[in-house]
């Protein structure tokens, strides 16, 4: 497990231990990666972050069109593994969690411990102004820096 900000590590580690999730990605709604667990290649993280952020943006727009409030979570159930995407508010802005899990756990357990992790993150987050969204010209450089930190190279 690797996290860009140290206060994210403990709640995320608890979630990993309790939920038995295989892969986890925490990111901002613009696709900037905050923490990851289980990914071995930076290109996988980049792809998952971009797709996850896009899916959440699509579902939130769909909810708006339908006149509903935001969807709490999106779960895709598969034969061998399943995937959950959920956006949540933190003092550092709106984040997205992407969780991939297998038959060794259940969607109920993943959702239960994910909600606990969100509560712990909200409590642990430093109460300072959220960082401004990266400017387009800086986005690629910041993404590259984040990935280097997450993968230690």
């Amino acid at each position: 497990m690797r996290a860009l900000e140290p206060w994210v590590a403990a709640p995320l580690q608890t979630f990993i231990t309790e939920s038995s999730a295989r892969l986890i990605l925490l990111m901002t709604t613009s696709g900037q990666v905050v923490a990851q667990h289980g990914f071995s290649r930076s290109v996988e993280v980049m792809t998952a972050a971009a797709l996850g952020a896009a899916i959440v943006a699509s579902t939130e727009e769909l909810a708006r069109v339908m006149g509903a409030s935001r969807f709490a979570a999106l779960v895709h159930g598969g034969n061998r593994q399943s995937c959950m995407l959920s956006a949540f508010g933190t003092p550092r802005g709106r984040w997205i969690g992407l969780v991939v899990f297998g038959s060794e756990t259940s969607v109920g357990l993943v959702q239960l411990f994910f909600d606990q992790m969100v509560g712990e993150l909200v409590t642990a987050a430093p109460r300072e102004q959220p960082q401004p969204s990266p400017l387009p010209e800086n986005f690629e450089r910041e993404l590259d820096t984040s990935l280097k930190e997450l993968f230690g190279r």
Binding site: T105, S106, V107, G108, L109, Q111, L112
Partner: protein
Amino acid sequence: MSEAEAALEQVTQVPGVRGSLLISGGDGLVVAERLMDGVDGRAVAALAASLVQRLDRATNRAGMRAPTFVHLRGNSGSVLAAPGRSDLILVAVAAAEANLGLARVQMLDAVGRLA
């Protein structure tokens, strides 16, 4: 009243039972519930389903048949679970003073009626 509601009603009528839930064993999600305030149905569903699944695996590995009733006793109460057909599990949360024998009989009867 639906079959699920009838099953929950039958179990919650037992003295000392603080609530009952019908949950999906594979997903650990609540299908129907009748709970007193202060009982977190979502947490009970997720954890009870996990418990029953693990016990199922353990008995299977030991060459035994799957459990038909699970009783988890704590200091201040018990969690009871009766696996049924179609991956459904009937779960009850009972206080320490609950009539557990009657609860067991009613749960096995109720889960047997569920299609």
